[in-house]
């Protein structure tokens, strides 16, 4: 009798102990004077740089100290949704425009017009940076850093093939790519896996093909037109000129191919600058950059461009102010350079002051590749992002980008053999279904 009771108690205790004794819970005490910040830049170098800035800020003894919790893009959509329902959302959330529409859809976030006006006044803001967060006059996130795509190429391979200038039109691009395809080298490497990388590179060509706007004036999907077909057709040809397993490429593979010389060209953002020398073993001068080639007729210079912004999700007035203070502190020219150099070359300034800031410019990568950096800044001026073109704000864009419909359309062409026209019609239907009821 007693031993049975003892056993029951022992078992219950052991189970409870097993569960709670290891309850190494993280925070808990200083939650009151703390602002929690979520960002998704989880590569080690970026994490460290952001943490360093947060520490610096906290040392100035602000009323609210910043506590960073790094998340991953793969999980943050569910995490923020679940957090919203449990009331445990962070105070600041770094977002990209389509993610911001999703977050707003969860009932989180608020206009940050005051902060944005302040920054505009003190440091000047690039218009393209606030555009994708502006809905009906209100700005829903403070732009923090921008990204734009360029045509990257191996200058040494170009020289060896006798090409003296980077292509500036689509026909030149195709001709050069064919010329550079020799032996085991491919002329270009564009991704065509089912992922965001493919979406973005294809979109850059849609922009330079004059098909930047995917929506009609009343917010309906309207990509079924000749310009889009032209862009899709170009992309189909580019994939054919890329390595044969491009069908599963996302970000790392084209970069690895360019750095190892397996391909001569690639289209991507500024992350190509920093690792080039160490991965390729070649001097910096071998990395060439140029604006993305435009369509032969009806094309316009441009590229995909978007800024990452800070949304303020806190419902507490005092914390909102504290959050705003931190964001303005980050954008202050004294610190902004350090912020941007978390990933030099990839993170571009959204303020005019920031672009001339010596803190940023003195970074070895930025100074070595000064020409490319300036070219990227110039390209940013004509940058676009689908769903937010010409002042539009399509709040259901997340449903389209989440499913990588553009990438899927590319796969319809490359795997299922659809023509560009058929693929565009297919994509039109998919997008309509995605945002329909």
């Amino acid at each position: 009798m007693r031993s049975k009771a003892l056993a029951a108690i022992a078992l219950a205790a052991a189970t409870a102990l097993g569960l709670s004794a290891c309850g190494g819970s993280s925070s808990g005490n200083t939650a009151d004077k703390e602002i929690v910040l979520w960002h998704m830049e989880n590569t080690p170098s970026r994490e460290k740089a952001f943490q360093k800035l947060a520490d610096e800020y906290n040392e100035t003894n602000p009323e609210y100290k910043v506590k960073i919790q790094v998340q991953d893009w793969g999980q943050v959509y569910t995490k923020i949704a679940a957090a919203a329902q449990s009331g445990k959302q962070p105070d600041i959330l770094f977002a990209i425009p389509d993610f911001a529409t999703y977050v707003r859809g969860l009932g989180l976030g608020q206009p940050v017009n005051d902060i944005v006006d302040d920054v505009k006044k003190n440091d000047g803001l690039i218009k393209a940076a606030t555009a994708p967060y502006t809905d009906g006059g209100d700005v829903w996130a403070v732009p923090l850093y921008g990204m734009v795509q360029m045509l990257w190429y191996r200058a040494d391979l170009f020289k060896a093939a006798g090409i003296d200038a980077a292509p500036s039109t689509w026909s030149e691009l195709l001709a050069d790519a064919k010329k550079l395809s020799a032996g085991s080298t491919t002329g270009i490497a564009v991704p065509s896996g089912k992922n965001l990388a493919t979406d973005q590179v294809l979109y850059s060509f849609m922009v330079t093909g004059g098909a930047a706007n995917m929506f009609s004036k009343d917010g309906k999907v309207a990509i079924d037109n000749d310009k889009t077909v032209g862009a899709f057709d170009l992309y189909k040809q580019l994939v054919a000129l890329s390595p044969k397993d491009a069908g599963n490429y996302s970000w790392p593979e084209p970069q690895a191919a360019l750095n190892s010389g397996a391909t001569a060209m690639a289209v991507e953002k500024g992350q190509y600058l920093a690792p080039f020398e160490s991965e390729s073993g070649r001097p910096a001068s071998d990395l060439g950059c140029a604006p993305i080639p435009v369509a032969d007729d009806g094309g316009k210079t441009g590229s995909i461009y978007y800024s990452n912004g800070g949304m303020i999700l806190s419902k507490d007035k005092a914390k909102q102010q504290g959050a705003g203070k931190f964001l303005e502190w980050v954008l202050d020219p004294k610190h902004y350079g350090d912020f941007l150099n978390a990933e030099p070359g990839l993170f571009l300034p959204v303020t005019e002051n920031g672009a001339t800031e010596s803190n940023w410019r003195d970074n070895p990568v930025i100074s070595t590749y000064k020409n490319c950096v300036d070219a990227m800044l110039k390209q940013s001026e004509t940058g676009e992002l689908f769903g937010f073109v010409d002042g539009q704000y399509i709040s259901s864009i997340g449903e389209i980008s989440g499913q990588n419909i553009l990438a899927q359309a590319v796969q319809q062409m490359t795997v299922n053999g659809m023509s560009a026209k058929e693929a565009v019609a297919w994509a039109q239907k998919q997008m309509q279904d995605a945002i329909a009821k």
Partner: protein, 276 residues
């Protein structure tokens, strides 16, 4: 141990070679690449042995990432999962298969049902449930979720071990005046040591490699486990291959060490009783 079925010499030799290549091959390649420079990893003509042997990837791993922290967290969660799984599944197996609590058939059915449910479905409702209990962002929450997925299989696994302990021993103990608890603790359990080893290794490895729930239910940096740290190395927009290789090796190493020591018990444990 005499084989119950021998493959002929040649098929056996071929099979051994094939297995060695497909298992050791990729592992070797990862390990050797962990000591190569980023450039050498990507070059068009692969090198079997690092041309420029370097420890910089590991250096970077330990200096710029919180690897040591992730390792500690993974160990804590894995050990806790193992202990709790052992307690819970041993108890359940004993109750169901030794003491013949009615409903063992139904319980077996529920066990199966739990493995039929696509895990995706559980993520958000489970988050809400755990949040309600204050278990988000805690070791306890992760351990609880892990145990819920390891315990059913382990209970089933222990079934055979329980049956292999002869019932006469229970009777003998009863005659000696031992109550059911003493019989359980002092007579039957000690004879199930191999079963214990099997359950321990299985739940440890499950917990060590678990990613989906760990990434969803842990929010702070200080509690992240190794798989989360590893997936962060395959970052947004760019990948540092050397770091990824070093990270993989560093995730593998602890379990390899564990296996070298415990391996023979695991495998030997399955010998004794994965029957019935």
């Amino acid at each position: 141990m005499r084989p119950t079925l021998r493959l002929g010499r040649i098929p056996a030799a071929i099979s051994m070679i094939v297995l060695t290549v497909i298992v050791i091959g990729p592992i070797y390649w990862v390990v050797s690449s962990a000591f190569k420079t980023r450039q050498e990893i990507l070059q068009a003509t692969p090198t079997w042995w690092p041309q420029n042997f370097t420890l910089s990837n590991f250096e970077q791993l330990f200096m710029t990432t919180d690897y040591a922290l992730y390792l500690r967290n993974s160990v804590i969660v894995a050990v806790a999962t193992t202990i709790v799984t052992l307690i819970v599944s041993l108890a359940a197996a004993y109750g169901l298969y030794r003491l013949r609590v009615p409903g063992s058939g139904k319980i077996a059915g529920i066990v199966l049902l739990s493995y039929m449910i696509p895990g995706t479905l559980l993520i958000v409702p489970l988050y809400k449930t755990l949040a309600g209990a204050g278990l988000i962002d805690t070791y306890a929450g992760l351990v609880l979720v892990n145990v819920a997925f390891t315990a059913p299989f382990c209970t089933w696994l222990l079934r055979g071990f329980i049956f292999s302990v002869p019932a006469e021993l229970d009777e003998a103990a009863a005659i000696d005046g031992a109550g059911p608890v003493r019989t359980m603790v002092q007579v039957v359990l000690p004879l199930m040591a191999p079963g214990v080893a099997t359950v321990a290794v299985y739940s440890f490895v499950y917990s060590w490699t678990e990613f989906v729930f760990a990434s969803q239910f842990i929010v702070s940096d200080t509690l992240k486990t190794l798989p989360i740290g590893l997936s962060a190395l395959v970052g947004q927009y760019t990948v540092n291959w050397g770091l990824v290789m070093a990270g993989t090796v560093s995730t593998l190493l602890p379990t390899v060490i564990l296996f070298v020591f415990v391996g023979k018990y695991f495998v030997g444990g399955l010998i004794a009783g994965a029957t019935k």
